[in-house]
């Protein structure tokens, strides 16, 4: 197509219009109705969908964190210790397990989690730590830890 005047160039978006639209239509391929068939509607919805997608990447992390917290709280309740106390005890004992590992241990290796709760309790007892949230001595499982190497716990933080 040959344009003799400059004005007509404004209308012309180049020969690759179909490819430009195709990119949008490919993203909109799973939409319903005009949102996938009409470009002017599709492009608006694609932009919105991409924004949602960006936000969801952060929300997904938040959701997983909430789920792990719920699971850890549930597991802590079984061993008569609060999640806060467990976290504090493990931190002081230099056991750096994150939420994901703790919740995995709670569901897949309950005995390991029980030992962790006992270690946390023992560490807080050695430190003389009193839970400020409920103003109580740290509770938790009384496992027999006499055979376990706990010398590292004796050093106060």
């Amino acid at each position: 197509m040959v344009f003799l005047s400059v004005v007509n160039f404004i209308r012309c978006r180049g020969p690759d219009e179909i490819w430009r639209k195709r990119k949008i239509f490919k993203i909109a391929s799973h939409f319903i109705g005009r949102r996938r068939n009409c470009y002017s509607v599709a492009v608006r919805n694609v932009h919105r969908a991409l924004v949602y997608g960006s936000k969801a990447r952060y929300l997904k992390k938040d959701d997983m964190k909430n789920l792990w917290d719920t699971r850890i709280t549930a597991a802590c309740e079984q061993h008569n210790i609060t999640a806060y106390t467990l976290r504090e005890g493990l931190d002081r004992a230099n056991i750096m397990l994150d939420r994901k590992s703790l919740s995995d241990l709670a569901s897949w290796e309950p005995r390991t989690f029980e030992s962790l709760a006992a270690v946390a309790k023992e560490k807080l007892r050695l430190d003389g730590f009193i839970d400020t949230t409920d103003k109580n001595e740290p509770t938790g499982r009384d496992l027999d830890l006499s055979n376990i190497f706990l010398n590292g716990l004796k050093e106060t933080k």
């Binding site: 719920t70 699971r71 549930a74 597991a75 569901s107």
Partner: protein, 178 residues
Amino acid sequence: MSAAKRVQQWATFARTWHIFDCKWQDPYQSANVIKKYLMGLHKPIYHPMNDCGDVVVCINSREIALRGDEWRKRAYFHHTGYPGGASWTLAWELHNKDPTMIIKKAVYKSMKGNLQRRHTMERLFIYPGEEIPDDVMQNVSNQIRQQRLVPQRLDHIPEDEVQQYPKVMEYPSDYVLK
């Protein structure tokens, strides 16, 4: 037994039946406890899409205790859908009509409104008194701890215990009690 079957724990996914005595309990606080067991929030395998909730049987729902003057002040709203169809029922009126309704609504409201909520509520059994059908009672294997101590009423203390209780003084025989 194969290595994979050795660690298979079917009991993890079993539905446990819990019993909860509502006597002298605040329904709105105990709803949060009941909700936890109904939704399975007390299990480390919890997931919103995982059907791991338990069954809760509430007894003595007629004996619940509301705080302050909530019996007279708290109103339950209902709308028939027609113009002028709104109605407000006070808590004591609702309790007289149906002694299970307050605890049921409290548990229902404590849960997030989603498609799962009505199915979760199906697993909640509420009985106004202590009588439970045998087919329900035979499944119960756990009791949920009550939130509050149930106080003993002064007029329910046995007579001989009252007599034996140490006294500061005896009233004179001619003393007139107000």
